[in-house]
Every structure is written in structure tokens, then in C-alpha cells.
């Protein structure tokens, strides 16, 4: 049940793009064609899962050493280094995969969804008012954090693919000049977000 709760919450009811508004820049920038949308989404998912695996234990170390305030510097450095290594690795061992998603890797360093996942799962910003690492009624430990990152990434991939499909059709519309491009994309995203809002009514009994 916890698995289902985290899965549905991460991918649907609190989808990174439509309900939490993380990662809007690649969502708007790379969603012009379905092929590039899939590549970008897959690359983001891979980086999210690996980054969570690395930053979760590192944050525990920072807490133990009483330097938790360094978390922003450490997280962004882990993500930047990870993206660089992954790019080199894929380029070396699988050129077809590199052509499909490797070219989007350098853009991921500044994708706020990846840093947001690291912050949420490690609960780095817990204050007196709220705790962040509770998703779908489940408190995220190391294992659940990885599940959350995986399905959050897949939710992002899904958002990208839906949007790119819509945009390929929107481009054929005869719109007023001021609505072309970003404005109509935003308004379309709002209507998709309304559809995703329905998932928030699912209750897991937690």
C-alpha cells in the first residue's frame, strides 16, 4: 500500500510539473517534439534516482558532522559532477543511447526538479511548521526516497510527452501573434494541470 501511495502521489497527484511547478524551464523549452521530450524526461529520471541515492546518505553525514547548512553547495556539486560523469560514461559505452538522451544531460544541472527531489527526500528544510519528506502519508526512508525519485521522474517524463503531443498540434493553429509560443503553451499546461488535479481526490487511508 505504501508503494502504491508513493507511486500515485509522486507521479500523479503531486506531479512535479503540474502540481508543484518544478522543472518548468525544460518543460517549456524541450517539449517542441515528442522525441526530444522523451530523451529529456528519461535523462531527468535517471539523474534524479542516482542523485537521490548519493545525496540522501551524504546529508546524514552532514547532519552527523553538524554542518547541515552546507547542503545547497554539496547537493548542487553532486548533481553537477554526476551529470558530467554520466555524460562521459554514456558517450563511451553506448553511442546510440548518447544520441537519444545524452545530449540533454548538460541541461539537467540547472533543472530545479532534480535539486528539489534531493531537498525533499533528505528533509533538509524541515522547520517547526512542516516536514517535507512525508509523501502520501509515508515517511521517506532511503528505500522509499528512491521510489519517490523514480516515480517523480517518470511523472516528469509523462508531463513532457503529453505537452509535446499537444504542442505539435498547437503549432498548426492560427493564433493572435501575442498568444503564440509561450503564452498558449502556459494556458494549455493549465488545462492539463486541471486534469491532473483529479488525482488529489484519491485517498490511501493513511
Amino acid at each position: 500500500m505504501s508503494f502504491l501511495a508513493i507511486m500515485v502521489t509522486a507521479a500523479f497527484s503531486s506531479n512535479f510539473v503540474f502540481s508543484q511547478t518544478y522543472g518548468i524551464c525544460p518543460f517549456l523549452g524541450v517539449s517542441k517534439q515528442t522525441k526530444s521530450a522523451v530523451g529529456m524526461g528519461a535523462a531527468v529520471t535517471v539523474v534524479m534516482v542516482i542523485a537521490t541515492m548519493i545525496t540522501y546518505p551524504i546529508y546524514q553525514l552532514l547532519l552527523a558532522a553538524d554542518v547541515a547548512f552546507l547542503e545547497i553547495l554539496v547537493f548542487i556539486f553532486v548533481i553537477a559532477a554526476l551529470v558530467q560523469m554520466l555524460e562521459k560514461f554514456i558517450k563511451r559505452f553506448s553511442p546510440p543511447l548518447y544520441n537519444a538522451m545524452g545530449i540533454y544531460l548538460p541541461l539537467i544541472t540547472t533543472n530545479c526538479a532534480v535539486l528539489a527531489v534531493c531537498e525533499i527526500t533528505s528533509n533538509a528544510l524541515a522547520t517547526g511548521l512542516w516536514e517535507m519528506n512525508i509523501v502520501g502519508g509515508v515517511s521517506l526512508n532511503f528505500g522509499w526516497s528512491i521510489v519517490y525519485a523514480l516515480f517523480g521522474g517518470l511523472g516528469f517524463l509523462m508531463a513532457m510527452v503529453i505537452m509535446s503531443g499537444m504542442r505539435e498540434n498547437i503549432n498548426h493553429l492560427n493564433l493572435p501573434k501575442s498568444l503564440q509560443g509561450f503564452p498558449i503553451t502556459m494556458v494549455t499546461a493549465a488545462f492539463i494541470a486541471m486534469a491532473f488535479y483529479v488525482f488529489t481526490f484519491i485517498n490511501f487511508g493513511g
Partner: protein
């Protein structure tokens, strides 16, 4: 002449290349933090401060930083500034700290800040870069507060936290869905206004050309 250059930097940052409405940069905090005018103002000023300081530091170090590692160097500068800002807000303005949540550390990956570092501060002097940071940050803040006022008025019936519509509210506008719609329509409106201003100035120019051709040539030469 040099005064004119500073004026151009200011006008470019605030209006002609407005980061929010013309370039559509830094969209995540724009959508998330404009639920109320106050949180929009807090986010805008935070970005203004980080952007100005990072522009100053990066342009001062632009001859020291090797070209191959410039992006990681910029990220270290920005991340340090954001860490300082986070500690400051946590101690001094805890209500704003709670309001901003994850979007406070996410200032690090705001494409506006890295974009200005790469496009402007790495090529220009300290004073120009500081001014560019202030102009872009101010453009960002004004745009965010504008959207914040619209969304707060429609979504909560209030203006900067002061209730004016007496309980009337369309809470749709405080959700992310409302954010997407308001942002999209704001960009469309801004582009439409800019287009009409540009067209009007072009008509004026042609009229001027027909009436007094010498005068315009003089103006353009100057």
C-alpha cells in the same frame, strides 16, 4: 554617452528583455511564489540580491576564472550566496523562510542568475554588471509582484494581505493551474502592449520622416 549606456542597461533589463515576460526565465519560482503579493515580493527581492551580488563577484573574477571551468565556478559563487541568504532569512525573517520552502534553495538553479552570469557578467565590468543585476532583478520583482497582486486579488480577495472584497474568492487562482493561466495571459498582454508601442513609434518615425527628413537623420546620427 556613458550615462546613456547605463540607461540602456537599465531599460533592457527591466522592459525590453524583461526576464519574466520577454525571456521567460526563472519560471518555477514565478509560478510557485505568486500566490500572494507579499511572497512574490520576498522571492523577487531575494533573487535581486543574489543576482546583483553574483554579477559583481563574477565580473570581478572574470579574468581569473579559466574558461573551461567557468560554469562550475559560477555555480559555486551562486550556491554560496544562496546559503548565506538562507541562513539570514532563517534567523531574521522566519515567516518568509517558511513561505518560500524549497524554492529558497532552488534560487541556485534559477536560470536567470546563471544566464546573466554567462551572458553579461563574464564579459563586462563590475559597475555595468552590478547595474545589470539590479535592472534584471527589479524587472523580475516587478513582474512577480504584478502577477502576485492579480492572483491574490482574484484568489483570496485581498491586496498585500489586506482584505478588500469581504470574503469573495476564487481559490482556483491560488492553485498551480491558476498560476499557469495568469502567467500565460500576462506574457500575452505584455507582448501585445510592447508590439503596439513599437508599431506606434514606427508610425511616428515615418511621419517624422515625411515631415522633416533632415531632423530624423540628425537624430539617428547622434
Amino acid at each position: 554617452m556613458s550615462k546613456n549606456k547605463y540607461g540602456t542597461i537599465m531599460m533592457n533589463g527591466m522592459i525590453f528583455n524583461n526576464p519574466t515576460f520577454m525571456l521567460v526565465l526563472g519560471t518555477c519560482p514565478t509560478l510557485a511564489m505568486t500566490t500572494s503579493a507579499i511572497s512574490a515580493f520576498g522571492m523577487g527581492v531575494s533573487v535581486l540580491i543574489v543576482l546583483t551580488l553574483s554579477n559583481i563577484i563574477i565580473s570581478a573574477l572574470r579574468k581569473v576564472i579559466p574558461n573551461a571551468v567557468r560554469i562550475p565556478s559560477y555555480i559555486v559563487v551562486i550556491a554560496t550566496l544562496v546559503t548565506v541568504l538562507k541562513l539570514f532569512l532563517d534567523k531574521m525573517i522566519p515567516s518568509l523562510y517558511d513561505m518560500m520552502g524549497t524554492f529558497l534553495p532552488l534560487i541556485v538553479v534559477n536560470c536567470l542568475i546563471l544566464g546573466r552570469a554567462e551572458a553579461f557578467a563574464s564579459k563586462n565590468g563590475v559597475i555595468e554588471s552590478a547595474l545589470d543585476g539590479i535592472a534584471n532583478g527589479a524587472g523580475f520583482t516587478v513582474a512577480l509582484v504584478f502577477m502576485g497582486i492579480i492572483r491574490e486579488f482574484l484568489g483570496a480577495g485581498s491586496f498585500f494581505g489586506i482584505e478588500i472584497l469581504g470574503g469573495f474568492e476564487i481559490s482556483f487562482f491560488t492553485t498551480p493551474m491558476g498560476a499557469f493561466i495568469v502567467y500565460g495571459l500576462c506574457i500575452a498582454g505584455f507582448v501585445a502592449v510592447m508590439e503596439s508601442v513599437r508599431r506606434r513609434s514606427r508610425i511616428k518615425k515615418t511621419k517624422l520622416l515625411n515631415d522633416q527628413p533632415d531632423l530624423l537623420e540628425e537624430k539617428e546620427a547622434a
